[in-house]
């Protein structure tokens, strides 16, 4: 075998391995969601349901207000995507193209927030929200996600790759900054912008600690924290098969979204200079 194909073989092996590691929990979720309650408790666990119980999905929808959770999540996700994309685009444009006093320092400060663990911010954010009397409100769920340092960084890198000359040419032609951003920068950075939007959605979908903290009412829960406690039976035991069925249901839209926009996400990551 030639060394070239040897190293390819190795590469595929590594890729398969990491894909497997990522896919196993998914598989287990779907596997569990189709089992009967009795089969779940069996030891050793079965790798494949002995009979499919699709009823679990129906039970999940009936037993917990999944649709409310989903709707809440969609509302929060859309708001966050809308606001944080606008904020990120404008901030990134300023950092990439404009000259103003303190630009470098401000940018470093924003990057610095990426280094601080989210868990640390949660406490101070919580105190702020509580002081504002925002418990159990939409703004409490939305506000902390509106400024996203990573998205600003990713967009700035993409904007910087648009040649200076395009900007100078439009300046000579009397095109305003805002118009240049809209007509030239945004279309040229489409894939990164889609990536940034998707990342925001995923972030909201997965976020757990913050919504649990600022919502106490069931009607304000998101899928992530809503599903956690929804499926305990009378004896106080968690009904995993139904919880997993519910999880499968809420993850589906995300998987669908990802598959639809895969092309953009990958080229967006590559364009931003962050290769996997």
């Amino acid at each position: 075998m030639k060394p070239q194909s040897m190293s390819n073989l190795f590469r595929y092996f590594l890729l398969s391995l990491s894909a497997a590691i990522i896919l196993v929990p998914f598989y287990w979720m779907i596997n569990t969601s189709l089992k009967t309650n009795a089969e779940i408790l069996r030891i050793p666990p079965t790798l494949f349901p002995s009979e499919f119980r699709f009823q679990n999905f129906a039970d999940a929808i009936v037993k917990a207000p999944i649709l409310t959770y989903l709707l809440n999540t969609v509302v929060v996700a859309l708001s966050v995507v809308a606001i944080s994309t606008v904020v990120s685009v404008l901030a990134a444009f300023a950092f990439a193209r404009l000259n103003f006093r303190g630009k470098q320092i401000l940018f470093i400060v924003i990057l610095g927030t990426m280094m601080v663990p989210q868990e640390m911010l949660i406490i101070t954010n919580f105190m702020t929200i509580a002081d504002l009397g925002w418990m159990n409100t939409w703004q409490a769920l939305i506000a902390p996600y509106c400024i996203n340092a990573f998205n600003i960084y990713l967009l700035r890198q993409t904007f910087k790759q648009v040649p200076d000359e395009l900007y100078l040419a439009s300046k000579v032609d009397g095109v305003s900054n805002f118009r240049f951003l809209r007509k030239i920068m945004l279309p040229l950075s489409k894939s990164t912008i889609v990536t940034v939007m998707i990342l925001s959605v995923i972030w909201i979908w997965d976020t757990y600690a913050w919504p649990s903290l600022v919502t106490t009412k069931d009607s304000m829960r998101l899928v992530s924290n809503g599903l956690q406690n929804a499926f305990t039976n009378d004896s106080g035991r968690i009904q995993y098969e139904i919880q997993m069925a519910a999880s499968t249901l809420v993850i589906l839209p995300l998987v669908f979204l990802f598959l639809m926009l895969k092309k953009y996400i990958i080229s967006g990551m590559v364009k931003g200079g962050i290769k996997g």
């Binding site: 040419a169 439009s170 300046k171 000579v172 032609d173 009397g174 095109v175 118009r179 030239i184 040229l188």
Partner: protein, 376 residues
């Protein structure tokens, strides 16, 4: 429109203390309607000068006048210039039509101007949209790209892209057209073709044009006037043939001859010029004794049949032929090599002794500072 630079200076602040002086007290006047070649080696400040005229770079010191109007502090979009970049700077996601129309549709001032023009002219166009379309098509026609209006820039060749860039610059009928190395990304054949196109477009429109280039052949071929810069300093300005025949100094002589010039070491002693160590001829006018460099262009050195006035002898060391051009290398008594054209492709033998003369008025004598002290 006439362009006048007065003591124009640009210093770039660098991290370290000393700033780079990219353009140094430039004084020059460019007459209206002329095509000017701004010429010089890499890093001499050509682009910087152009971008100051365009209003993209701030001026460190000095003034820029368009006719009698001081535009030094005016922003780029208010100067009424068209700018063509070295890398074309076309918008890749827009069609050729959209690229050319972009300056017309995306500037408030331009829209106001066009609306007014449209209202005043009662032009043949039935409505404003058709009027814009006509402007775009006229520009496209001028640069001969009407067949590609629907394509994206990525689907065009380099030469075609360059034409689109020129069309975009002239569609708003600027009073001055500025081009930064418009040909440097093209291959040799296309370069000659496109440079002639530029000449034609400039003549048809009559727009005062400044074209930056580091290729003297390009500048000499199409410019009405060339301006030679070195290290941000003006070296010479004049008609191409004049600059070629009468270079102001050693730098210009070497730069403009594209290394087709011999720089021979010599000296002046008791009012006689020495080529190497050999006495050559008496000076027409007295000069101080000094070491000199004598510039002799390949094409100006001729074969003499016999030992006539101002001739010198040298022996053949090598012959070369590149394409249609034959050259001969000869050696002076002190070992210095001189190259000359072998016009008639004569069959010369190695170490054959030749009598050589130099065309009158083409012996260029420079002092140690590179200043020209004599041309005869």
């Amino acid at each position: 429109m006439q362009v006048r630079l007065e003591q124009l200076t640009k210093a770039f602040e660098s991290r370290k203390k000393d700033s780079v002086i990219a353009v140094n007290k430039l004084d020059l006047t460019i007459e209206s309607g002329k095509l000017i070649g701004l010429l010089g080696p890499s890093g001499c400040g050509k682009s910087t000068t152009l971008f100051m005229v365009a209003g993209i770079h701030d001026v460190t010191d000095g003034k820029i006048y368009f006719d009698d109007r001081d535009v030094t502090e005016l922003s780029a979009d208010k100067r009424g210039i068209g700018l063509v970049f070295q890398n074309y700077a076309l918008y890749p996601h827009l069609s050729v039509w959209d690229n050319i129309a972009f300056p017309l549709l995306n500037s408030k001032d331009m829209k106001k101007r066009l609306k007014k023009q449209f209202a005043e002219q009662h032009s043949n166009s039935p409505n404003y949209k058709a009027y814009i379309n006509k402007l775009v098509e006229d520009a496209a026609k001028l640069v001969e790209i009407t067949a590609y209006l629907d394509r994206k820039p990525g689907e065009l060749s380099g030469g075609q892209q360059q034409r689109v860039a020129i069309a975009r610059a002239i569609v708003k009928s600027p009073s001055i057209l500025l081009m930064d190395e418009p040909l440097s990304n093209l291959d040799a054949r296309l370069r000659i073709q496109t440079r002639d196109e530029i000449k034609r477009i400039q003549q048809q429109t009559g727009i005062t044009t400044i074209m930056v280039t580091h290729d003297q052949e390009e500048a000499l071929a199409i410019s009405d006037e060339v301006i030679v810069l070195k290290d941000g300093l003006l070296q010479q300005q004049g008609a191409p043939q004049d600059v070629y025949d009468n270079p102001a100094n050693q730098f210009v002589a070497e730069f403009i001859s594209r290394s087709q010039i011999n720089m021979v070491h010599g000296k002046i002693a008791t009012n006689k010029l020495y080529l190497g160590q050999e006495e050559w001829f008496p000076l027409p006018a007295p000069l101080m004794d000094q070491e000199v460099t004598i510039g002799l262009r390949y094409e100006n050195i001729k074969h003499a049949m016999e030992n006539i006035e101002r001739s010198f002898t040298a022996s053949v060391t090598a012959k070369a032929r590149i394409g249609g051009i034959s050259t001969v290398q000869v050696r002076l008594a002190d070992g210095q090599q001189i190259t000359l054209l072998n016009d008639h492709d004569e069959s010369l033998r190695e170490s054959e002794r030749l009598n050589l003369v130099v065309k009158p008025q083409s012996i260029l004598v420079f002092n140690q500072k590179g200043e020209k002290i004599l041309q005869c």
